[in-house]
Amino acid sequence: MYLEQLELTNFRNYKKLILNFDQGINIFIGANAQGKTNLLEAIYVLALTRSHRTSNDKEMIQWQQDFARIDGQVMRQTGKLPLELIISKQGKRAKVNHLEQSKLSAYLGNFNVVLFAPEDLDIVKGSPATRRHFIDMEFGQMSANYLSNLSQYKLVLKQRNLYLRQLKYQQAKDLVYLEVLSDQLAAFGAKVIKIRYQLLAQMEKFAQVIHKEITNQQETLTFQYRTLIKQHALTDSEETIYQEIKAIYTENQPREIEQGTTLYGPHRDDVLFFVNDQNVQAFGSQGQQRTTALSVKLAEIDLMAAQTGEYPVLLLDDVLSELDDVRQTHLLKAFQDKVQTFLTTTSLDNVAKEIINDPKVFHIDSGMIKV
């Protein structure tokens, strides 16, 4: 799929803007603080309804205005699809083909993007929470089933944590209700774990191929999914996993009440990355960590194509300058004929221009754009 046209109204520093894009590579060039990232953010928000930069939607509304609006014409295999997102102080409204969608799950998945920003290098080095967030955003985009189970898991987790607190402080005493909440959490947890495991296994295969290529066949990348049940049990059926989690809750009930919170579950999961059987997080060089992050991100593109049947759109924010020539070349070569790409940069000097076929270049200067 690709984005044919983007129209912004009162979005960040763009009062009114219409841009038409190429199916190949689109480059936004400009000095700092001119509005390059704002454009990528708008494309990202059009796909996911939320920003990668802020959890406060109102920040995206142009100062002194009441609403921001993003309109996009997405070309898919099935034809042209108009998407529209309005962010106002009251909330968000999303339309697909001019029809308002009341459920987020009905909007997501119509337009898929993969964003790679400098902070994504943290997927490898950062905290487990960073990696969980990454996985949830990506898998949520590919699987409505995952998104729904995850959000129900989170809701039940909140309820259970509150109830455990009430039990801790003797504001409640009914253990039957705790068991109900434990069973419910175990059921949603088993579904979340099962999907995470399956998608991570698929992603690992793609990442391995890419990583081998970038490293000239020198390095083998492997993933390890860490969750509350044992590695070998991950291939078991969802029902078996559910029973195992239930047993963990039963066994640890006194401890969880004493702590007043849920100590076990996929909300504490992590993924570890290994290069040639060495944990990259702990022992990898900075270069290896970068290459790993790049392989994982690029694998996401293949995974999304495998899951949805269409390639997503790739957004690269200021990352080219962070990568050396080999990695840049790989990044651009691997996908430029299949994947529509938007990239931002302050200048073309440090970009391996030779490998880019005929890009469309936009010069950005304080919210004004010249093609």
């Binding site: 799950s105 009905a106 729904s148 809701l155 309820q159 009430q166 039957v176 209700y177 419910q184």
Partner: protein, 198 residues
């Protein structure tokens, strides 16, 4: 400038209603001032009457003018089955179906620590008592298909199953007359999970 006291008070009253913020409340208040005096009087009367003349049925918890309610008093209804619902409006919806002739029990909410509702705060105790002294053989739980509705259903089922009473859950899936093509993915998944042998 401040609004004169009567209108300020009216705005304040409207704001006590769910889903009404100050903007809407102000619009409603000014609209009320422009209404015919008769209409305003009838409106005020209905508000007070609804509060004064309506009670909760001491058996099933539904809203009623007389206690026990019409349904609980109707001996021609099937006394062996009861449907448990979250709200009085759910009883209305099920009664419209005109096909169910058993009894009801209204919980007035679902279990939700986030909302501060525990087992003591909804009508569960009265359901257990009712089951002990009536010939009810089957309890159909019709709470909503939200995580809280499901948890409440599971909780009730655990309390009453040991007494040998049959407990069933309302099925959820595709709505009648709807095209599979247009159902959202989660509804479809639920419908597949709840499929029945033919």
């Amino acid at each position: 400038m401040q609004y004169p006291e009567p209108i300020a008070k009216l705005i304040d009253s409207y704001m006590k209603l769910p889903g009404i913020g100050s903007k809407t409340a102000t619009r409603l208040a000014f609209y009320t001032i422009d209404m015919q005096t008769d209409d305003v009087q009838a409106f005020a009367k209905s508000l007070i009457a609804a509060k004064k003349d309506l009670h909760y049925c001491s058996i099933c918890g539904n809203i009623t003018e007389s206690d026990p309610c019409d349904i609980c008093r109707d001996k021609s209804r099937d006394q062996s089955v009861v449907i448990v619902v979250e709200q009085p409006k759910d009883v209305m919806a099920l009664e419209k179906m005109n096909d169910y002739h058993g009894l009801y029990h209204v919980l007035h909410g679902v279990l939700s620590p986030m909302e501060g509702t525990g087992p003591e705060d909804i009508n569960i105790k009265s359901l257990i008592k009712r089951l002990q002294k009536t010939p009810i053989k089957e309890v159909i739980i019709a709470t909503n298909a939200t995580p809280e509705g499901e948890a409440t259903a599971m909780y009730i089922s655990r309390l009453i199953k040991p007494a040998g009473i049959k407990v069933t859950r309302l099925a959820h899936g595709l709505s009648v007359g709807s095209d599979i093509e247009y159902a959202d993915e989660m509804t479809l998944l639920k419908a597949v999970e709840g499929r029945q042998e033919m």
